[in-house]
């Protein structure tokens, strides 16, 4: 009797120790995993705080509208850079969006063959190409041929970053449209391209707009391809065939200067840039995620798959 009791106690103890150890390991892993999340968010917080804290003192009407003053003087502003960023975003959308949308239509409506599969694959791979290579490419086929730095070259380089994103998001949102919609159109005797434009695209509009805006926020911050295409300048836009300024380029140039005033202006430009980019990014996500649109809710998930 006594013997059995002690043995039971031993077993219980062993069991407790074993489980306690496993639970402890589990707890430690939980803490490590949670701290990973915290560690990753710290830089984001620090970047946002520093950009706002340092940038806000630089912001003024003159800073936003004037051309840069002489180097190191701390005078002048980033007017040309803001203007240039808007121009380059507009022009690259002009090239990138139609190609991207058409390519997305191809992938979704005619996307069940060998060509489409390879297009999809290369789209995904192309999305991850180092952007500086696209800059070199635009330089070689436009700047070198024309003989001068050109705004079109920059817009072309950025459109190359843009169109695969637009294509894949368009494809995903068109695929969300139920086949019955298309069948209804066919039953009415409509032509396929009319079905696509009138029915399918109008049903998938919000998803496509998100994709386009997210690609805009992506190219707005690109710097590397602009170095060898629009070069940077301190004057307002004058023609398509001369160098132009853009916010990321201006930030880069300012960061190379050894003056405190330049540093301050760099923070100011960074604040403007981050407001534009995070503004578009957050705005789009917030606006569309609040819409409670079933089509779109599904789309957000698909999009996050596609972009990666």
């Amino acid at each position: 009797m006594n013997d059995i009791q002690t043995r039971r106690q031993e077993y219980r103890l062993l069991f407790k120790q074993n489980v306690a150890k496993r639970l402890l390991v589990d707890k430690i892993v939980r803490i490590i995993v949670f701290s990973c999340v915290i560690i990753a968010i710290i830089p984001l917080g620090s970047i946002l705080v520093e950009v706002f804290k340092n940038g806000i003192t630089a912001i003024s009407i003159e800073f936003l509208t004037e051309t840069p003053g002489s180097i190191g003087s701390g005078e002048g502003g980033i007017g040309p850079a803001i203007q240039g960023t808007l121009i380059i975003i507009g022009l690259s959308s002009l090239i990138g969006v139609p190609i991207g949308v058409m390519s997305g239509i191809f992938l979704s409506e005619y996307g069940d063959n060998k060509l489409a599969r390879s297009v999809r694959f290369f789209n995904d791979v192309f999305m991850e190409f180092p952007s500086i290579i696209l800059g070199i490419f635009a330089f070689l086929i436009i700047v070198l041929v024309l003989g001068h730095f050109s705004v079109w070259a920059g817009a072309f380089a950025l459109s190359l970053i843009m169109f695969p994103i637009v294509a894949r998001t368009t494809e995903e949102s068109l695929k969300m449209v139920p086949t019955t919609y298309r069948e209804a159109g066919t039953a009415l005797g409509l032509k396929k391209w009319i079905i696509t434009f009138r029915i399918v695209i109008s049903a998938a509009k919000s998803g496509m707009i998100t994709g386009i805006l997210l690609s805009v926020s992506r190219i707005g911050g690109e710097t590397a391809p602009l170095i060898m295409t629009i070069l940077g300048s301190s004057q307002f836009f004058s023609s398509m065939d001369t160098p132009m300024d853009a916010l990321p380029l201006r930030i880069w140039r300012l960061s190379l200067l050894p003056y405190d005033s330049a540093q301050l202006q760099g923070w100011g430009a960074a604040l403007v840039l981050i407001m534009i980019i995070l503004g578009i990014n957050l705005g789009v996500r917030y606006y569309f995620s609040n819409k409670k649109n079933l089509l779109f809710g599904k789309f957000i998930k698909q999009r996050s798959n596609a972009i990666k």
Binding site: R22, V37, A40, P130, F137, K191, K192, W193, L273
Partner: protein
């Protein structure tokens, strides 16, 4: 009567055909561009291959002075590989931890945290550079590099050199932060693709949460997680601005990575630094384009491998759900 019908049918076919040709061309655009890029980089860098031969890849000098031109890409290849490797060592475990947390947390906590991590990807590279240059570098140098150097600098070559903040380690840490959103988001999808039954089976055996990950998720999603990390490697290899601003930009022999606290240069940063000043007439520009070609080849290989691994993994998921 019959004739009219036929006409309509024909018109319909023609306009649809034009539409199909149009969208197919737009779809094929990406293939055309990829081929054109490869062709352009090869043909424009041809002079440097002609001049230096394959030793362009193995040489270490970098001299653009007229009459004494000599170019070797080895230091920059090594610089890219070193910074990317260190970035992977820091970034991948962190990302997998984040993916574990978010894939397992209740959506109310997981979704906003995942969103915050994804916001890291929306911050432009040049702002990472600015922040790294004026904020991160200072703290990192004073709190991390200097103590390490004081403790081990005389004995271990890894920590020799004078910590100044503009070095391989700083650039690598920034790179690590920049690859976290990619790797963690893809890893999260991969982990979610593990069939629910597998997890439940592990719990039924009495596993704790960690044991569930060890028993059910990791073995199942291994290839996918490797693919996600390689995708991060692709990002790290091509990243330009932040690295250019933080790596110290040495050239030639000085750019060969010798210590964590030494300056170096990567393939993309030397292109960003020198491309505009290089004259198309001399061999300097072909040399830079040649480096671009090597970078492109590395990036293509990395990304193709990564996409094959990741899509295969996600396809298995679809199969599993259908069963």
């Amino acid at each position: 009567m019959n004739k009219v019908n036929l006409n309509i049918k024909q018109r319909k076919i023609i306009s649809d055909k034009i539409f199909k040709i149009g969208v197919t061309t737009a779809g094929a655009y990406v293939l055309i561009v990829v081929v054109l890029i490869a062709f352009q980089l090869v043909s424009e860098s041809y002079p440097v291959w002609e001049e230096e031969g394959l030793s362009f890849i193995t040489k270490t000098d970098w001299n653009a002075v007229e009459g004494r031109e000599s170019f070797g890409a080895l230091p920059y290849i090594l610089g890219t590989l070193t910074t990317s490797a260190i970035a992977m060592m820091i970034g991948v475990p962190l990302s997998i931890g984040i993916a574990m947390f978010i894939s397992d947390a209740p959506p109310k906590i997981g979704a906003p945290l995942g969103f915050l991590v994804e916001l890291l990807a929306a911050v432009p590279s040049v702002i990472y550079g600015l922040w790294g240059l004026y904020v991160f570098r200072i703290y990192f140098r004073d709190w991390f590099e200097t103590p390490l150097h004081d403790a081990f600098g005389d004995n271990i070559w890894l920590f020799s050199g004078n910590p100044y903040g503009l070095d391989i380690l700083t650039a690598s840490v920034i790179l690590a932060i920049m690859i976290i959103p990619t790797v963690s988001a893809v890893s999260r999808e991969i982990m979610k693709a593990v069939p629910q039954q597998q997890k439940e089976a592990a719990y039924m055996l009495g596993a704790t949460k960690w044991e569930m990950f060890k028993l059910a998720i990791f073995p199942y999603s291994k290839t996918g997680l490797i693919g996600a990390s390689i995708l991060g490697l692709g990002r790290a290899v091509g990243e330009t601005m932040a690295v250019t601003m933080l790596i110290g930009n040495a050239t030639g022999l000085g750019a060969i990575p010798s210590s964590l606290f030494g300056p170096s240069q990567t393939m993309s940063s030397i292109i960003a630094n020198e491309f505009v000043e290089a004259s198309p007439a001399s061999i300097h520009m072909p040399a830079l384009i040649g480096i671009g070609l090597i970078l492109l080849l590395i990036a293509i290989v990395i990304n193709v491998v990564a996409h094959l691994l990741v899509t295969r993994m996600l396809k298995i998921k679809e199969g599993a759900i259908n069963n």
